[in-house]
Symmetry: C2
DNA sequence: TAAAAATACTCCATAGGTATTTTAT
DNA sequence: ATAAAATACCTATGGAGTATTTTTA
């Protein structure tokens, strides 16, 4: 029977990530020789080298690569076993890694954290803001427990739960205040300011306006909603912002914010977690608390 | 970070299987206190009891049950990491657990073992004979590396490889020798002898003859092909046997064996293994050697 | 009260630390 | 020549053994 230890897999993963015995050892909070020995032992039991030792950095051998995949899966499964305990406890406690997309995070995180502290005082919240793609990766790798993102996602390994619907609002320069609200379909002709590549809000907006980035030369980009609103205030163009950003982003800029008169676009925001996460039930309760914060004005559930 | 060891999971699995600290310890080749301590430690790190201690036997708590599922998955993944090494070696070696369905095993195992010893001398073959359902379970649990069964199976976690086609032959009492071969479709009117419930060969035969067990009161059952042939020899009825059983089973019985004149029924025999088994490539080579034994007379591949 | 698990203790294997040498560019 | 990994050696944690006590139907 093969005698590898979880410890060896942990060290090996660190070595793969850092590509350097010394730094990997540091990451594992052990000395470099200690890590070297465990790697050596792992190589011995497998009967083949796992890394190629270079003078400046080490790289994985093909066998090392395949082991890495399997090791990650095992380490995730082990971590989930650890979470079994927390799931069994009457009250959820310990660190909870929670992620949110950038177009929501700055406006929603404060109240989410406040509400979760109220409902689950034993929880130690570790918030993170990233784009959807990163959040999904982090969820799957077990570095996040739950993420708040826009639906739909269609990832079979993730559980999704819709929380509330959010409107897209039109932001125009102050000079437009007297003009009528343009129709959504006419926006492709305007100078539209949108978030840079990778933000789901950008894709949603493009989708609603029926725009492909190439076909619209007057499209301009910003890296945050705040920037966009400021640029609109400086008469550079129009933009869309999610409802949630309204109170904060329009405070410091002189802009004209309007709903559309018809075909008001919206997106649905939901919570996501690994289906295999033993904390599932707790995460559902947490998601419900988060959803309740917004569902008063915007109820998705008919409760 | 949770500090669970693979050792603890192994011991816990043994305890779950045996329901008894002493016997589980024996199965793990350690002393009872050693196992008790590891279980206790596991319970401590998870913060909740995993087993309910009874005076005669222990039973898993609900948490223990869920842990068991996850532990098995982890242990299987670890075992597969162990197999990575063997897969990396130039020549496949070590123990290979191979299963076969009962209607093939007695006739085919000898030549399969002989051929595999020739081609893979470092392999230590561990053969087992079981019905399809059991073989599938054993494959998935990692207690079998490869199984030879009838297609189709449609199990998404298993890789299948067709090896050869095998005919179903009609076995009649010696008195029928002068009579013409009945048509396959007329067999449901005859006194048909078939294998008992659970053999895939039985289901295949029923299927070919368009019989449902209930609708045919003259159906009789035996627990082995050998029994069936002997009963046919004793004029008790007719039967079907797979081609492969022919040389052995008809040696010691005075029966009349015939192919059908039309609609000759066949089944396809194939090899199966876990898709995640790192030995996959080796198992493919092994399966090819097995298939080559029969594909001379019965080629499935157009080689 | 009897079978079985928990506890007490002792021992040894091994993970980890520090100091040092070897290696490869 | 230098950064980095391997080796040597020591220490200490903890896993396993034997003997014994506690538990509970």
């Amino acid at each position: 029977m093969i005698n590898i230890s979880i410890r060896q897999l942990r060290y090996f993963e660190a070595l793969a990530v850092h590509g350097h015995f010394g730094r990997a050892a540091e990451a594992c909070a052990i000395s470099q020789p200690a890590l070297s020995l465990q790697i050596k032992e792992l190589e011995d039991t497998l009967g083949a080298p796992l890394v190629e030792r270079g003078p400046r950095h080490v790289t994985l051998t093909p066998l090392g690569e395949t082991l890495m995949h399997r090791a990650r899966a095992i380490l995730l499964a082990v971590q989930e076993v650890g979470d079994l305990a927390r799931a069994a406890a009457s009250e959820i406690s310990g660190p909870l890694h929670i992620g949110m997309i950038p177009t929501i995070a700055p406006y929603f995180f404060p109240e989410v954290i406040h509400a979760l502290r109220q409902h689950f005082p034993k929880l130690d919240l570790v918030p993170r803001e990233s784009k959807t793609k990163t959040l999904v990766e982090e969820l799957k790798a077990g570095r996040l427990d739950i993420a708040i993102m826009a639906l739909p996602l269609h990832d079979p390994s993730l559980q999704e739960m819709a929380l509330f619907e959010e409107e897209f609002l039109l932001v125009r320069p102050p000079s437009h205040r007297s003009q009528p609200v343009p129709r959504l379909e006419s926006l492709h002709k305007a100078s539209l300011l949108l978030l840079e590549e990778g933000h789901c809000f950008r894709d949603q907006a493009l989708d609603f306006c029926n725009i492909t980035p190439d076909s619209n030369p007057s499209l301009m980009e910003g890296s945050s909603l705040s920037t966009l609103v400021q640029m609109v205030g400086a008469e550079i163009g129009l933009s869309l912002i999610p409802e949630m950003a309204l109170p904060i982003e329009t405070q410091s800029a002189d802009v004209c914010v309007s709903r559309f008169e018809q075909n008001q676009p919206t997106r649905i925001i939901g919570a996501f977690w690994r289906k295999t996460n033993p904390l599932g039930t707790s995460l559902e309760a947490i998601a419900k608390v988060i959803g309740a914060l917004r569902s008063e004005d915007n109820p998705l559930t008919s409760a």
